[in-house]
């Protein structure tokens, strides 16, 4: 299980293997090919002399499926079975492996892995196919148009040979500028539900290698002793008790004084030695507020004039329309801080090679982040820094910090040593829950006016909370006219045709470190929009499905049509309105990350003795579902993630310190919490859109609407378990 890091290049295979066909892109995006592996050319597909095809996957795999999806695109275009393609994670190279939606930045997020790779990886596969076919045409002296590749076999009339036969000749050809992509009618793998994940077997038998499993020779394990609340400064430490721990090496204050690094021979020694370490802290600059105070600030902001008039509405006119309405529905919502808590506690390993290069082993969600940070920390040019992307045990956004927090922490823990020993930084679950970045707390206040016929005449919507984006390197790109779109997404861009919408936003002061959390702003905006739609429909005396469809009725608006279609499919598949006796249903539909998801939650029991979630029915339109079973799995997971947190979880602060510490007080969704999930995919010819996140937003409001239907109470503060709802 020891990983050899002495090699300088990243891609395995190397020159000894003979001719290799590499197809990728130049930094300007044009397709390019090469015949041997060099550090100057990083491909999307590699075909070895023996015909082994490898997809170089530019997105990390945290379970969402790119290690299956990107190979699927290449295998489809070349003409391979899924067993005939392997995968490797790409090295860090923001010019070639950048996310096409992020600019010159390599990273995974915003449910974009498939959306931005869809054409790029198909083109690489199609170029490889054309080159192999052209090589076969020359070899066989036949016209290329009569040659096919199926299941890895090149065929023309009665001639056939495996692709391996043409790798050497193909590698001498120029990459075609515009290879012909297969027509969807020719797809055998894309959209095929029987395609299995490439990483199933190794994850079921213990062979899968996560960053936590990296063990480089002579490594030390480092853990960081951090202050009780953020902002504390380490002034000194006493490690006399740590010295009693066998395997303890030493400790050092990090250069930024944010903590003290404790070094040990192994993880258990590091845990014990850190526990035993006494640190003198200067807490004068530390966070001291309670979460109740943070909540009070948010609620006060909702009662004041918002800082930003997000949709440039005539607020006075909207307000007047509501004041003069026949009925007014008003509700205030509060969403607490939430931790991501990926299953694999954060960790990474850093080492220096004999040549002075720095190698980082990491479940790297945004390699360009640590790559840039390390250039500064180590004063090295980019080519002297190498990032080896390992499998990641979940993320939900946590590994994508704009400041590369834990990778920088590892680097700081490394630079204070003599660098002779690699340093593996390990976080415990307590570190993860208590020292983390959180989904910001948010509040919404919504006032909706209805006329006598039950039509909306005004929808005044105020949002307040801490911006995720402001203060980060992404601010220049993602904040417009002062508005962090991630604070208002899901309301500002809702496909619903709502007359008299006025949307206001107020940023509340920095409360703690906050971060995007699976589906970002949609975690709170979908809940607010979709529970409000139910409340308003009820006040209007209209059916909640019919009421939603009435606001999605523009036949010329594909956004509305697609949203309406998933709603109708979910209604049909869930048996909406025909729940068995003793059960209640709730529905929600939401667009996020380019995809549309509608969910029906069916519950039994009652609020007093406990509610049981019997079934969740989901309909999703994510464009072409490249791997339908992966799409279903992502919906299942997204639903569980959304529902699990609103049931029971929150992060609270007392005098700036996080009250929760581990799973016993940040209780994850358990197997018995949701009895069944049933996912249906809307057939589509549109380009693929997101699947990692869109399942999450409608799940919680659909549950809330079901509880409302059962109990008459709409839960407007989370977690539900602390706001009057018991679950069994």
């Amino acid at each position: 299980m020891t990983i050899n890091t002495s090699r300088r290049g990243f891609l395995k295979g190397a020159a000894a293997a003979g001719a290799v066909l590499l197809v990728g892109a130049r930094p300007d995006g044009a397709l390019a090919a090469a015949s041997s592996e060099t550090t100057q050319f990083n491909p999307f597909v590699k075909i070895d002399a023996d015909g082994t095809v490898t997809a170089i996957v530019k997105h990390f795999e945290k379970g969402q499926g790119p290690a299956t999806g990107l190979p699927t695109l290449i295998a489809e275009e070349i003409g391979l079975t899924m067993d005939q393609i392997e995968y490797e994670f790409a090295p860090s190279d923001p010019n070639v492996y950048n996310n096409l939606l992020f600019g010159p930045f390599q990273g995974t997020g915003g449910s974009t892995a498939m959306a931005n790779s869809w054409l790029q990886y198909r083109q690489a596969g199609a170029a490889a196919r054309e080159m192999l076919i052209n090589a076969a045409a020359q070899s066989w002296s036949v016209d290329a148009s009569g040659i096919t590749i199926e299941a890895g076999i090149v065929k023309a009339g009665d001639k056939s040979a495996p692709i391996a036969e043409f790798v050497a000749a193909a590698s001498q050809l120029e990459a075609p500028a515009e290879p012909r992509l297969k027509d969807p009618s020719e797809f055998r793998l894309i959209g095929n539900e029987s395609v299995r994940r490439k990483d199933s077997a190794i994850k079921g038998n213990g062979q899968a290698m996560y960053a936590m499993d990296v063990h480089v020779p002579n490594q030390m394990v480092a853990m960081i002793k951090r202050p009780e609340s953020k902002g504390g400064i380490a002034k000194g430490f006493d490690d006399s008790a740590s010295k009693e721990v066998k395997g303890y090496i030493n400790a050092a204050i990090l250069p930024n004084q944010a903590g003290v690094a404790v070094y040990a021979e192994d993880t258990w020694a590091a845990i014990q030695a850190r526990d035993a370490l006494e640190v003198e802290w200067d807490m004068s600059g530390g966070e001291t507020r309670d979460s109740d105070q943070i909540k009070a600030e948010i609620m006060a902001a909702l009662e004041s004039e918002p800082t930003y008039n997000v949709n440039k509405a005539d607020v006075a006119a909207v307000s007047a329309a509501i004041d003069g309405a026949d009925k007014v529905v008003e509700k205030t919502f509060y969403f607490p801080l939430l931790a991501h808590a990926p299953m694999e506690p954060l960790n990474c390993t850093i080492e220096q090679t004999a040549e002075g290069d720095i190698v980082l082993h990491d479940g790297a969600q945004m390699p360009t982040g640590p790559h840039m940070a390390y250039q500064q920390i180590f004063q090295l040019p980019p080519e002297k820094i190498h990032i080896k992307t390992m499998l990641a045990g979940g993320s939900f956004g946590r590994r994508a910090t704009p400041d590369a927090d834990y990778q920088v922490e590892a680097a700081l823990a490394f630079v204070v040593t003599d660098r002779s020993r690699p340093v593996k930084l390990v976080w415990t679950r307590e570190d993860d829950i208590r020292s983390g970045y959180y989904r910001p707390a948010f509040g919404h206040k919504v006032r909706v006016g209805l006329d006598a016929d039950g039509n909306i005449v005004g929808w005044q919507h105020q949002i307040a909370g801490q911006s995720v984006i402001k203060g980060t390197a992404f601010e220049a790109v993602l904040v417009h006219d002062g508005v962090d779109h991630s604070s208002v997404e899901g309301v500002a861009d809702s496909p619903y045709a709502i007359p008299g919408m006025a949307l206001g936003l107020t940023d509340t002061p920095k409360a703690t470190t906050v971060l995007w959390w699976r589906s970002v702003g949609h975690t709170h905006t979908a809940y607010t929009m979709e529970t409000m739609m139910d409340l308003v429909a009820e006040a209007a005396g209209r059916d909640p499905v019919e009421f939603r469809l009435a606001h999605l009725s523009d036949s010329a608006n594909p956004d509305q049509q697609r949203k309406a279609a998933v709603l109708k499919l979910a209604v049909e598949k869930a048996g909406w309105g025909n729940a068995p006796a003793g059960r209640s249903q709730g529905i929600a539909v939401h667009k996020s990350f380019g995809s549309y998801a509608a969910e029906v939650v069916e519950i039994s029991g009652d609020a007093e003795n406990g509610i049981k979630i019997e079934k969740v029915t989901c309909a999703v339109d994510c464009g072409i579902a490249v791997n339908p079973d992966v799409v279903k799995a992502q919906m299942e997971g997204g639903i569980g993630y959304g529902i699990g947190h609103v049931m029971r979880d929150q992060i609270t602060l007392t005098s700036g310190a996080v009250d929760q510490s581990n799973f016993p007080d940040y209780e994850p969704l358990r197997i018995g919490d949701i009895a069944a999930i049933d996912v249906h995919i809307v057939p589509s010819a549109e380009a693929p859109t997101g699947v990692g996140e869109p399942g999450t937003p409608p799940s919680a409001p659909a549950l809330a609407n079901a509880i409302h239907a059962m109990t008459g109470t709409l839960v407007a503060s989370h977690p539900m378990a602390e706001n009057g709802i018991n679950f069994v």
Binding site: I202, D266, G637, G672
Partner: protein, 154 residues
């Protein structure tokens, strides 16, 4: 101190202090990394191994207490027909997502099927309740156990 462990059918001599969780001996000393660290407080089940065929949380099992036991980890559980059936079912149904908890899920599933070859949904939910999956693959874990039960029955 020096201890002798019987793990995956082999005898290992390890150097560990009393009070060391079995998890860290397996991971850091024996370098068998399939057994995962998730919480350290027996609350997530990622570290589940078998002690004489019974699932235990290795993060709360101390090294001095297991000297006479037969320890099985995820790396060897597939040598047994129940383990092989569970792993086959996991692949057939693509149970995994990030996969980090799945070694523990498989070890618990094997424990369940070893004592109850045809568990009901309620029995599955009860037995597996200590194994957390942050990706929420629970529906497929349930189906995977039912499928493994079928494979074993055939």
């Amino acid at each position: 101190m020096s201890l002798t462990l019987k793990l995956n059918g082999q005898t290992h001599t390890v150097d560990a202090e009393p009070g060391t969780p079995l998890l860290w001996v397996i991971r850091d000393e024996l370098k068998l990394t399939g057994t995962k660290f998730g919480c350290g407080v027996a609350s997530c089940g990622a570290c589940t191994v078998h002690l004489n065929g019974e699932p235990v949380r290795s993060c709360q099992t101390y090294i001095e207490d297991v000297e006479d036991a037969e320890i099985t980890t995820i790396e060897a559980v597939g040598d047994d027909k129940i383990g092989a059936a569970v792993q086959q079912a996991w692949v057939e149904l693509d149970v995994v997502q990030c996969g980090y908890c799945q070694s523990g899920q498989v070890m618990s599933a094997v424990g369940l099927l070893s004592e109850n070859s045809k568990p009901s949904v309620e029995e599955i939910d009860e037995y597996m309740s200590g194994n957390a999956c942050r990706c929420a693959t629970y529906q497929r874990i349930r189906a995977g156990i039912q499928r493994a039960s079928e494979i074993l029955e055939a």
